[in-house]
Amino acid sequence: MTETRNIGDTLLKVDNISLSFGGVKAITGVSLEIREREICAIIGPNGAGKTSMLNVINGFYHPQEGTITFGGEVRRKMRPHLAAQGGIARTFQNVALFTGMSTLDNIMTGRNLKMKRNFLWQAINIGPARKEELEHREFVERIIDFLEIEAIRKTPVGRLPYGLQKRVELGRALAAEPKLLLLDEPMAGMNVEEKEDMCRFILDTNDEFGTTIGLIEHDMGVVMDLSDHVVVLDHGEKIADGVPDVVRADQNVIDAYLGVAHE
């Protein structure tokens, strides 16, 4: 499948990142590249520093060393709103939806950055503000359509089952029309059908919108099927990087997952 898609230049480059919390080293000297339109999986055992890596890319954590290059701009550290403005969207390991709001509102919130009308227009809700709202509603409806969640449009997301919540969260991330979509365990805790649906959505997103995807996942079947390129972390260090088949055969990776016999 890699041959058929035109994978472009480097979109995100993380260079020699080190992050520690006090004495605990979460990430040591990790570099990785995600290229345009590819699906890159970041895998590793628990505590390997995968989520920390995403948090660094997002600007939640500020690494002590290293640089982040995104879309040609080199940064010492990211800031969350700059990352969002630059086109990085993300979903969370534990669903982080706005539970009091409806599905529609959640996804609409994803488009907040694109809505510019100031509060005086909002207050009277006629003219430009209203027009803007309707335009974005139309876009959001396309996402709702794409994710097949029309029936739960007006339901508060707090009442939805877990699988659907994950889907709404993906919708919210897609609403920002991201260049780079980071998915933190999108399939955790799902049954086979839900996983299949989610895979389909991820592949379609990548295919139709040309969105670059960075993916953390523990289901190896999914990872090997979906991704063009796999990065393996263990104890905060990168131990392998390459196409799925190569990574799968890598002795370090097998050791990290299965453990090594101690002498």
Binding site: Q85, M101, D105, R117, F119, I124, N125
Partner: protein
Amino acid sequence: MLYRESGQYKTNYADDQAIFPLKQDRWLMAIALVVAFVVIPLTSSEYMLQAVIIPFLIFALAAIGLNLLAGYCGQISLGTGGFMAVGAYAAYKLATSFPDLNMIVVFLLSGVVAAFVGIMFGIPSLRIKGFYLAVATLAAQFFLQWLFNKVAWFYNYNPSGTITAPPREMFGFMITGPAATAEARYMITLVVVVVLALVAKNLTRGHIGRSWMAIRDMDIAAEIIGIRPLHAKLSAFAISSFYCGVAGALFVFTWLGSVETEAFAITVSFQVLFMVIIGGLGSILGSFIGAAFITAVPILLTNAPQFFGFNMPIDLQKHFEVMIFGVLIIFFVIVEPHGLARLWQIAKEKLRLWPFPY
């Protein structure tokens, strides 16, 4: 049976996003407005307007203000009384310094002054949350009350330390001051409250409201989307304080006529907070219901014994009133922790299916 959405199809998003998408809601609202603008001024007594309806409207406005902050943006504030005081004293200073200024402009400007003060006291919210923020806003309450008490400039060096609404007219009617009729004061209050309630509803439905709710529900996810907590929280503080400020200005100008700082004590902050909690956090309608509950129930309780033919000493009656009121608050909070607005929501859902169980 009566309250059904079946058969009301929407063929475009504009209809679906209308403020009252259901025909029944539009009718109810129209009836409520007719009652408010025509029936009440024609039928209510001076006492009824002065003691019940005007304070209800003013507290509803303050409750909307606090609801925008606490209910929509999730930032608890105990400074409502202080921000109302800012509005009241700003309106007093503006009205006495610029006698020709239109009263509506005075009310709006005093709201703006309160908004700036609100932003200043909202700054701690960027670092602290929950109860700690409540304590920080408590500082606003005490500081502002102390300031207006101590600095004589705010009450124009009046020896009694009170501020009194100067007589002003609009459209040929006296609307403030001792000569203003209760009807005139009621109408001006009503117009301000209705317009601002509509504005609040619009704000909460737009992207600003969504960014507040996003901060309330999950601030980390909100940040990832690109919502800046600084902007969202401070705008919530500003707009909330604007509402409280206008409510404070009306408090003096169209309700009491003359107040001292004691009128904006911490008890007012608590009263408004109770209204928001009982009415329903995150609901504009809830603010009205909560304000009605807190202002009307004590008066009902006062009048109830005579109505049923009981005669009891006035002090005993007063004690009963406080006791029953307290019990009612506890009852409602236990029965429906999401407020009376939620009860209305549930009733609507039931009505949709009635008379069938599902």
